[in-house]
């Protein structure tokens, strides 16, 4: 008999949602000692599956029919108080965002100890000993120090280790991981995945692993269930689903996962359109009492973008790649070095700089003003620069057609668009100024993999048609391989390696580049 069996589970969404049911007759089972990956795009119902097991659904979401059997117990019909006792002791959960999942005002040791204080009768010193052992088990450096530390003193990966220690504290039979590595850097992600794998094998825990990333699936899954619109469309062993998918949707998703192999190199014009030389930027804390020390974000960075090509800047969080992007568009001042666009220094005046360089932002939900029509937001730049309103709107309509949107969408508000459409609007807004250089700061990292592929395709097409020069910031090496002609790898404010994408990805010379490439999930099964 399975450890967890979800039988014909139908979960209703509140009235007015985009569909009636979050889950429609979902059946899944997990054996002891097995990792089941539930994979799907946003809105597929994969997270609702996890929260329904734990009864942590958003208000208004409720189970309509079906059972959630943990051994002999039906979790779906259990009274709240009985379920509360099961949480943490028999089922535990690790959340996506390690930054917000820990209480910032409580020391890590106290939060960890709460698990035993709540669920067991252990004495204080026994709890302290167990807390220490738990942190040792998740391989935190300096576990004694970590017990006394507050969450903000730990890195994201360390916090996620603490969350895993907390989840496993009472030796639950089932561990639910809801996108536990999505917020982490790729090398940290690889470490956390290994950790979960090891702990799970050592203890025989069953793991329900929710993810959107097929690379992660390939790394960790024993079995895979693919969800679409609240329905499980395909399930089977990891090997079978990833290499011989049956359902059309699975095939489409897998085809959208970008490969790591760069396309054959193109002819690149020798003319440099953006030259950044020896750029330095230090963040100095403001205020009279400078308690924090100054952080050096860019430590002499030099890169060159050639006309009509794409230069990828890759690196992990804290490498300085976003700072570089913000300096290049004039959003941030810099301390030393030079930025030259088309031969002359980047002007300080906003108006003048706007015609030279434009930016596509990361978060399609935050980068459009929710209270203004999208057409106005696209046309406002040219209008401020002196273009007549009617002409600016006509140009905006042309741009909308160019990026694959209906020109009639100009008069709508941002909330009427999907994430991918919003990113298209963001691209249209940047192109409206007819810039020499387009800086794209993680433009696809907030998008589902199939939408990601479409937006990348759009950027490639626009580059071919308009001869765009793109400075492309990304943490995702697969995405970089799709679009970039050249690439610069950044670490701690320095470019450690640069060259054509084929050369860097196939023959990385720097140890950091090698470790980044090695950490890309799913290389073995999905292909490099």
């Amino acid at each position: 008999m399975s450890l967890l069996a979800i039988e014909d589970l139908t979960v209703a969404l509140p009235k007015g949602a985009d569909r009636q049911h979050a889950l429609t007759r979902v059946s899944l089972s997990i054996e002891a000692g097995e990792i089941l990956c539930v994979v799907g795009e946003s809105g597929s119902g994969k997270s609702v599956t996890a929260t329904t097991i734990m009864r942590l659904m958003a208000p208004g979401v409720r189970v309509e029919s079906g059972r959630v059997m943990l051994g002999e117990t039906d979790l779906a019909s259990l009274p709240d108080e009985a379920l509360r006792r099961l949480r943490g002791s028999r089922i535990a959960m690790v959340f996506q965002e390690p930054m917000t999942a820990l209480n910032p005002l409580m020391a890590v040791g106290d939060q960890l100890a709460e698990m035993w204080r709540t669920h067991t009768e252990l004495a204080a010193d026994a709890i302290a000993a167990r807390s220490l052992a738990a942190l040792k088990e998740v391989a935190l450096p300096d576990p004694e120090g970590a017990l006394r530390a507050y969450p903000h003193e730990l890195s994201g990966g360390q916090r996620q280790r603490v969350m895993i220690a907390m989840a496993l504290a009472l030796e639950p039979e089932l561990l639910i991981c809801d996108e536990p590595t999505t917020a982490l850097d790729v090398t940290t992600q690889a470490q956390i995945l290994t950790l979960i794998r090891e702990l799970q094998q050592r203890r025989g825990t069953a793991v329900l692993f929710i993810t959107h990333d097929f690379g992660v699936v390939a790394e960790i899954a024993d079995r895979v269930a693919v969800m679409q619109q609240g329905v499980v469309v395909e399930q089977g062993s990891a090997e079978q689903v990833l290499t011989a998918p049956v359902h059309e949707y699975t095939r489409r998703l897998l085809a959208a996962v970008p490969g790591l192999r760069a396309p054959p190199p193109r002819e690149i014009s020798p003319e440099a359109v953006l030259e950044i030389s020896n750029l330095q930027k230090t963040y100095r804390p403001a205020g009279i009492f400078r308690r924090r020390r100054a952080a050096r974000a860019l430590d002499g960075v030099s890169v060159t973008l050639r006309r009509g090509s794409t230069l990828g800047i890759v690196g992990e969080s804290g490498s300085g790649k976003s700072t570089l992007a913000r300096c290049a568009v004039g959003l941030l001042g810099f301390d030393g070095g030079e930025i030259r666009i088309a031969g002359s220094p980047l002007p300080r005046a906003r108006q003048a700089a706007a015609h030279l360089v434009q930016m596509v932002f990361q978060d399609p939900y935050a980068s459009l003003n929710p209270r203004r029509k999208v057409g106005d937001q696209v046309a406002q730049g040219p209008i401020a620069a002196g273009t007549a309103r009617a002409q600016a709107m006509a140009e905006a309509a042309e741009l909308f057609a160019l990026v694959g949107l209906e020109p009639s969408a100009l008069t709508r508000f941002p909330h009427e668009f999907s994430g991918g459409q919003r990113q298209r609007i963001g691209i249209a807004r940047a192109l409206a100024m007819k810039p020499e250089v387009l800086v794209a700061d993680e433009p696809v990292s907030a998008l589902d993999v199939s939408v990601q592929a479409q937006v990348l395709e759009l950027l490639r097409g626009l580059q071919a048609r308009l001869g765009l020069s793109i400075l492309f910031i990304t943490h995702d090496l697969r995405v970089a391989a799709q679009l970039c002609d050249e690439v610069a790898v950044m670490q701690n404010g320095l470019v450690v390696e640069a060259g054509t994408i084929g050369q860097v990805f196939e023959h990385p010379s720097h140890a950091y580049t090698q470790s980044l490439l090695a950490a890309v999930p799913g290389r073995g099964m999905l292909g490099g």
């Binding site: 208004g60 403001a286 568009v329 959003l331 906003r350 459009l368 406002q380 401020a384 100024m433």
Partner: protein, 277 residues
């Protein structure tokens, strides 16, 4: 917007608030039709109890004026004072808060220290000083009330601007080459406004109370029939003819209750996280 209106209409307390405010508004609008004579003119024998004389359903005050007429005309005065004073306070508060929050740094430090200087003075004392210096004409009183009520609006606006100015859509407009005025007025302000609108209802309620308190001390304009003046008149006969003060007191209570409920309702309706439930 339509979603916010629907959310508001589902909230019974908020609807009650709207009904109360509309009633007071209706009283103010109907006053010149129902009571065309000067409400401050002599109407009959002083201090008649409510119901004693069918001509004066709510009785007469110590000067022999019709309380009902004063109540209706007073609704206009109280609402007008509340509205104009709120406008004055919001205009000053939003301007100062927007500049402080948008620019940050020393501009913020300077403007916030000025704001704190105003906040450390009890606003009623400051109001007394202003009225003592500039006189107690109804216009002066109204503007003075606005002048003492802006600091919380400024702080609230500043807090909103501080978080909104770092949002990507503001950066995007900046990269498009748009000026600071555009960024503040078109990008940030519309997003910062909902909590400020909600707080404006508090300012309005307090403004009405402040005027009543001034009038009770007989420092407000004696030539307008405000509710506060009526309460002030009743002060000397409070132990026997208590209705003179009590009737306008109840009117003030209901108005402020209405305005506050409306503010709370707006808060719930404009806050998407609460609307979802």
């Amino acid at each position: 917007m339509r979603r916010a209106l629907a959310a508001y209409a589902r909230n019974p307390a908020a609807l009650l608030g709207a009904v109360l405010v509309l009633m007071v508004l209706g009283m103010g609008l109907a006053a010149p039709l129902l009571f065309p004579q000067d409400p401050l003119g002599l109407a009959g024998r002083p201090l008649q109890w409510p119901g004693a004389n069918p001509r004066f359903p709510l009785g007469t005050d110590p000067s022999g004026r019709d309380i009902m007429a004063q109540l209706f005309h007073g609704a206009r005065v109280s609402l007008l004072i509340g509205f104009v004073a709120t406008l004055v306070a919001s205009a000053i508060g939003i301007a100062i808060g927007a500049v402080a929050g948008f620019y940050g740094g020393w501009v913020d430090t300077l403007l916030m220290r000025v704001t704190e200087a105003f906040q450390t003075l009890p606003n009623f004392l400051l109001l007394l000083v202003l009225v003592a210096v500039f006189g107690s004409h109804i216009n002066t009183v109204t503007i003075a009330i606005g002048l003492v009520s802006w600091p919380p609006v400024a702080r609230l606006t500043r807090a909103e601007f501080l978080t909104l100015r770092t949002r990507e859509f503001v950066s995007a407009a900046r990269v498009q080459g748009l000026g600071d005025i555009h960024l503040m007025l078109r990008e940030v302000l519309p997003n910062a406004l909902p909590p400020v609108i909600v707080y404006a209802s508090v300012v309005m309620a307090v403004a009405i109370l402040l005027e009543s308190a001034l009038a009770f001390l007989q420092l407000s304009d004696p030539n307008v029939p405000s509710w506060g003046n009526l309460i002030g008149l009743g002060r000397n006969v409070l132990r026997v003819e208590w209705y003179v003060s009590a009737i306008p007191g109840v009117a003030i209570l209901l108005t402020i209750l209405g305005v506050s409920l409306m503010g709370q309702g707006l808060n719930d309706a404009l806050n998407p996280r609460i609307t979802g439930k």
